[in-house]
Amino acid sequence: MNPKLKRYLTAYAFLLPNGVGFMLFMLLPILVSFGLAFTDCQMLKPNIRFIGFGNFINLLGFYHDSAGWHANDPDFWYYLYNTIFLMIGIPISMAASLGMAILLNQKLKGIVLFRTLFYLPHICSGIAIFMVWRMMYHADVGIINTILGWLDIQGPDWLNSITWAKPALIIMGVWGAAGGNNMIIYLAALKGVPESLFEAADIDGASAWQKFRYVTWPQLAPATFFIFTMSIIGGFQGGFNMAYIMTQGGPSGSTTTIGYYIFNMAYDGELLLGYGSAIAWVLFVLVMGATILNWKCGKSGENDYA
């Protein structure tokens, strides 16, 4: 055989196992999903009709009547608001991650033990830990209200209150994320800050805060940018597992995110696969838009690390 052809065939053979699966489980579903978004496809219903932009109009459109403008699908806008509201947790958990990384960056005996303890919530995160928090948030017997009771504060019925359900999820999310991968990334970035910069700052008589503000923080910019971008991407898509276990999206839909809405539409109840696909593509556009915006802002800032 022609040696060149043989080399090509070898290469394709290495690619084949993954390539076939990639086509069947990634490319094909992406194409099908794009097609579905323009149909009224429903599971167990034989006829599929092409309805053009119908799903997108039902999802994003507005109509006008004597009482003014109304959204065709007010739920979607509410769930979008919930999704963005829950992202308040991102800057909080980033600040916590950075603080914890700074603590771990000290040269102290036994620091690896503390790193493990800080990282534990991330390892354990998931369904089991949501169960624990559900118990801790219980209005009468939960530990959180018990502690508030010691301070003479009447705690709310966290997960059954429209006001407090979202903050409850944010607190839990920060607890789970702060000591996770973001902390490790910050820790690596901190170790990468050249010692000479601090020596120079010392000679100039900089205070600890000035050293952080003018030396450490700018040096951490690439890590901050990376973590923030990834968190926003995750934030738009997330919220299902947590809300499903803790609140079932309630009370009154106040913890339903877009990811949860797709579940309700496509996999539950009426199994509206077409509509669910349309929401998923809107989610894609939101994620892309936020990423590009983030990228642009990162570039126009003082550091061109993007």
Binding site: R7, Y8, T10, A11, F14, L15, N18, G19, G21, F22, L24, F25, M26, L27, L28, P29, I30, V32, S33, L36, M43, M100, L103, V112, T116, L117, F118, L120, P121, I123, C124, G126, I127, A128, I129, M131, V132, W133, M135, M136, I143, W175, A178, G179, N181, I184, I185, A188, A223, Q237, F240, G259, F263, Y267, L273, I279, A280, W281, L283, V287
Partner: protein, 303 residues
């Protein structure tokens, strides 16, 4: 002049004090979970530690529910998914990093592009294809084999061949993550090409280079990817939730979530199950901590 030794002792006390305070916050819910799992029926719900510690909740979870089955399912899913993904990703990553073939960069770009598409987009059609597909195949070919129930040793229900309630459906999509290919390729690129060339001069075939040169040098990347996949599939919830109906095919997260309805206020039972679910993760983490840290940094810095 301040006493140097006293002030440094005070400094240590403050440093360790803060570290301990943060650790208490991160560990508290986990301790609470274990404490609750050891409570006997008469212990007050609110108390931190049980008055009469007992292991009976663990026994109840194992004997009184399908917990053991969920556990076995989770182990099968996590282990097979991890090996499957390591194999296909490292092979494809090798092709992209080391071999020349027409269309290589275009195909790699397609992999990168799909990484930006949310999982929600591909999950709807996968759900549709995986549930309806085998039924259509049955009708088309006039057979029932595609959704036939399987039994291991003619006794243990092992799900259907394809479709809902099938190990195939839950596991196989994990084999083909573009992220895994990306991670492996990036790592392989850092291995000096001279290694391959030397092996090639010694008469190694391409496969031998992959298997005896590249893979042994890639333990950190393989270790990191194993941990990511194992953790991800161990805790996976949405896909197994929508793809299982029968109790025997649920994995741990879906199974424990279903306890909520049946044993809604039996917190000691639920906490015992949750504790047992976390044990493997903690062990994997402690054993492979080194890989964890380097893997996350590889993903962030080089990605």
């Amino acid at each position: 002049m301040p006493d140097f030794r006293t002030s440094s002792v005070a400094r240590y006390a403050v440093q360790y004090g803060i570290l301990v305070a943060v650790s208490v916050t991160t560990v508290f819910p986990l301790v609470w979970m274990i404490g609750t799992s050891l409570k006997s029926a008469g212990d007050p719900v609110m108390s931190f530690l049980p008055d009469h510690p007992t292991m009976s909740n663990f026994a109840r979870a194992i004997e009184g529910t399908s917990f053991t089955r969920y556990y076995i399912n989770s182990i099968i899913i996590a282990v097979v998914s991890t090996f499957g993904q390591l194999l296909t990703s490292s092979m494809a990553g090798f092709a992209f990093a080391r071999l020349n073939f027409p269309g290589r960069d275009k195909i790699f770009f397609a992999y990168l592009a799909t990484m930006m598409i949310p999982g929600a987009v591909t999950m709807v059609p996968l759900f549709m294809i995986m549930t309806a597909g085998p039924e259509y195949l049955n009708i088309l070919l006039g057979t029932g084999m595609f959704t036939e129930k399987q039994y291991f040793l003619n006794e243990y229900y092992a799900g259907r061949a394809l479709g809902i309630d099938s190990y195939f459906t839950i596991i196989v999509p994990h084999f083909f993550s573009p992220f895994g290919v990306f991670l492996m390729r990036q790592f392989f690129l850092t291995i000096p090409k001279e290694m391959d060339e030397a092996a090639s001069i010694d008469g190694c075939s391409t496969f031998q280079i992959y298997f005896h040169v590249i893979l042994p040098m890639s333990k950190p990347a393989l270790g990191a990817l194993s941990i990511f996949v194992f953790m991800g599939t161990w805790g996976e919830f949405l896909w197994p939730l929508i793809m299982t109906n029968s109790d025997a095919m649920k994995n741990l997260p879906v199974g424990i979530a279903s306890f909520m309805g049946e044993h809604s206020t039996d917190w000691p039972l639920i906490m015992a199950a949750s504790t047992m679910m976390m044990i493997p993760m903690v062990c994997v983490f402690i054993a492979f901590q080194k890989f964890f840290v380097s893997g996350i940094q590889t993903g962030a810095v080089k990605g």
